[in-house]
Symmetry: C2
């Protein structure tokens, strides 16, 4: 092993091969669920160095098959499914892309930005803005997460309704393969039908098929105006009806549509009194709508008012407020973004990141709420999310008076099983935006179609026959897929 | 072989296993470049039958490896790259999806339509419209092509600028694998991060990895109004500048942006005098812009007028007309759509379907025009296409006085090489929307990155180890990739 470490030091310099001291920043996952032990944290400074590190590891593994080393690619280490930290074996090398943080180019006429994998998302947004453009990927961790990690996990966020996931924003990739070759696929093309779309295979593969080292992403013209509305709705069905109405009235101008349950909002009101949550406590759900307009602020507002008028008349909105200015808009979004934090302050809870077809959301919520209440009387459901994408963060908090830690330990497997079975029944996904990592690897083996799993295994074996990149992530080792 | 045919007759009925009579409709490609010979044309009526046919063929090939049979999936047989017709061996089974032409479901609240692979594209558009929605995929062959073929070849068309290719419209697939398994991936989900995105691997794989039997596609709300403008521009750079201006002014409302060279338009004027082409003969290019608006016709028009005013003031538009009504809009689009036909009436020509980054289009056109004029003095360039996507149909017509057939025969390899070399130099694609098929298979082997080709070969071998589905399409047999 020392020979390999020496070779890596030769390749990237001793200050970029970390083996001693506190390596928690790379070894512990974001939600602090696990703390692994890395053989080393290696931080190459450019694509060639990444390729050389991979080649050195591949060669070492070939010469010493029993050494069992592998590589865990890592960006900002903000993932939620334990997919980018090492296991406890001490045989995994964390390959951190942090040092590769250059915005390589902005092409205004082509509406593209090319950034290295280690660029912080917020940096990419700011670079785009400085050039007069919008880079619409936006999510809670944007101050720490990297564009490479966003692509590896196909990150979602609050603007997916209009602009799609990280996947839809990506036009081209530069990737280091498990053999240490460099695929120069950094195209800024909107159209390219020359063979299999490798880009879409690497995006969302969570570092198991290749290491994304740079990407060319779409930019958009900035809107002339943005307006935010907050509407109380009498039911989840009404929220779905409002979504359809808003899509007809605003078209692509509808850039945000978030739903929040009364209990979720009450937690924000309790833990962040300064935010003055518009609770509309008579109604079970509130919706946050965002309208982006390319004409003018007055047109944006007029369109929004017209929409709300129709929605009130049709009964799919019970009450509503329009943000009067940017500060009010920001506060409304801050309330939405504070739900997770408020929930954490309320105590440990069981989180889900699921999706079902939008038309099935009301029935899914009704059926699953009932199942959970039956299994755990008094369970408190924190239900909120990106309704426009069919994506709910459908979380369970301990009943009042029950110790949250005990609840989590004792009830998580049952709650997961109930929720995921229900998701499957409604044609949904057990992981809408967070991915699989190691946290959901057993669930995937259980819930995913066997035909799809077989194809995925064949692809992994074909592209990474040594199983060098992020093994046991996404795909469970064969024969180990027993649900907890 | 007869035993296999008998088995297929048992599976799908004798009237759906065609071996005699005129099979040109399935054996000859759309542009009549080749006429193959099928072992049989098999027309299964549902997904199970497709799976059984594939299993029977796979088993036969396993038992008789020397028989050399394979399967060529076929939709409407309107492809432009000889990808869905059999070769001359008489050993290929054409598996036609024509009989699978049911629209299975429309989910209004989820904005999705689920259609079988053999549905004619126009039928899908009409079904969507009847339910009050827009299915935006639109291309010249829409009256004959099928949605399965559109997905297999990742079709483009005139609305890609706003809505993306067939790929971007697809949420889920049902696929029969080369092993005859059925992957039920007909999800209507906007977000699903559960493993490798197989959907995107099958889309655009031209029937070489699996047979698409049905798809769930996105629908959109219908716009309140649509307006069309026709603008003369002083240069290709001005056209690119106008595109940027239009994107800033109209945002997602800009749903079409087509560029047409003066010579291309003059051919339409010559061969379709009734269309009254607005030639603006003083200027080298015209642009067709389409604006879709969700507020009102008056807002749409006002926005467009404002845009053209700014564009005229900035000098990126020399002259312009706005369609006064729907009929005028349709005529303008008809002029654009008639270029290919006018070109055919002018005589055989060398066609290209290329893309480069939008910012590079002016330099690409200037450089490539000069190279071609130098190589073939007097060559007439028919240059038009989807500028908003960076996609040009950059075609070469024989110089005046030169026999077109001789020109085609003698100059095609040289012209292709010149154009594709130039495309490569500008970071472009040799096939923006038509695909590879067998027509461009040697070019792909020459121009595509070896790392990408290696990954593609590994994936093909992993998913279709018998090489049963559409062999020698997309990927050339190893060792045969010599350019003509």
């Amino acid at each position: 092993m020392q020979a390999l470490l020496n070779e890596l030091i030769t390749l990237v310099g001793s200050s970029n091969v970390l083996t001693e001291g506190d390596l928690s920043a790379w070894e512990q996952d974001w939600r602090k669920r696990t703390h692994g032990k890395a053989l080393a944290v290696v931080r190459p400074g450019n694509t060639d160095e990444v390729a050389q590190v991979v080649r050195a590891c591949a060669r070492h593994l070939q010469q010493h098959p029993a050494c069992g080393i592998s590589i865990v690619p890592q960006g900002g280490n903000t993932g939620l499914v334990v997919g980018s930290t090492p296991d406890a074996s001490g045989r995994q090398i964390v390959l951190s892309l942090q040092r590769m943080n250059t915005v390589r180019a902005i092409d205004a006429a082509n509406l593209t930005i090319t950034a290295e994998a280690g660029c912080i998302l917020q940096r990419v947004q700011e670079s785009a803005l400085a050039a007069g453009f919008l880079f619409p990927l936006s999510l809670a961790a944007e101050g720490s997460c990297t564009i490479g990690g966003n692509l590896g996990s196909n990150a979602g966020g609050t603007q997916v309704l209009r602009f799609g996931n990280a996947r839809e924003l990506c036009l081209g990739l530069e990737v280091v393969t498990p053999q240490g070759d460099i695929w120069q696929g950094l195209s800024g093309l909107r159209k390219d039908n020359t063979g299999y779309d490798l880009r879409h295979l690497y995006v969302g593969s969570e570092g198991t098929l290749g290491i994304i080292t740079a990407a060319t992403m779409k930019l958009y013209p900035l809107p002339a105006a943005q307006t935010t509305a907050w509407a109380a709705v009498p039911s989840m069905q009404a929220a779905v009806d409002l979504l359809g109405l808003a899509q007809r009235h605003l078209g692509a101008g509808l850039t945000g549509f978030e739903v929040m349950g009364r209990f979720a909002l009450s937690l924000v009101a309790r833990h962040f009194a300064n935010l003055h949550v518009p609770l509309f406590a008579d109604w079970p759900f509130c919706v946050l709508l965002e309208h982006s307009d390319h004409s003018s602020a007055s047109h944006a507002r007029a369109q929004f008012e017209q929409l709300l008028e129709v929605a009130l008349a049709q009964g799919c909105v019970s009450d509503a407020v329009l943000a009067e200015n940017l500060a009010q808009s920001k506060t409304l979004w801050q309330i939405r973004e504070s739900i997770s934090l408020a929930q954490a302050l309320e105590g440990p809870n069981i989180k889900h990141d699921i999706s079902v077809p939008i038309s099935s959301i009301p029935a899914f919520v009704q059926a699953t709420d009932a199942l959970l209440q039956q299994a755990i009387p008094g369970v408190r459901l924190v239900n909120f999310g990106h309704l426009g994408d069919g994506n709910l963060h459908y979380n369970a908090q301990a009943p009042l008076g029950i110790d949250a830690a005990v609840f989590l330990r004792e009830q998580e497997p049952q709650v997961n099983r109930l929720v995921f079975d229900s998701v499957l029944q409604f044609g949904g996904s057990i992981s809408a935006e967070h991915g699989i990592g190691s946290l959901k690897v057993d669930h995937l083996a259980h819930y995913k179609s066997p035909v799809a799993l077989q194809a995925m295994r064949a692809i992994k074996a074909a592209l990474d026959p040594q199983n060098l990149l992020n093994p046991a992530r996404v795909l469970a080792p064969i024969g180990t897929s027993e649900l907890p």
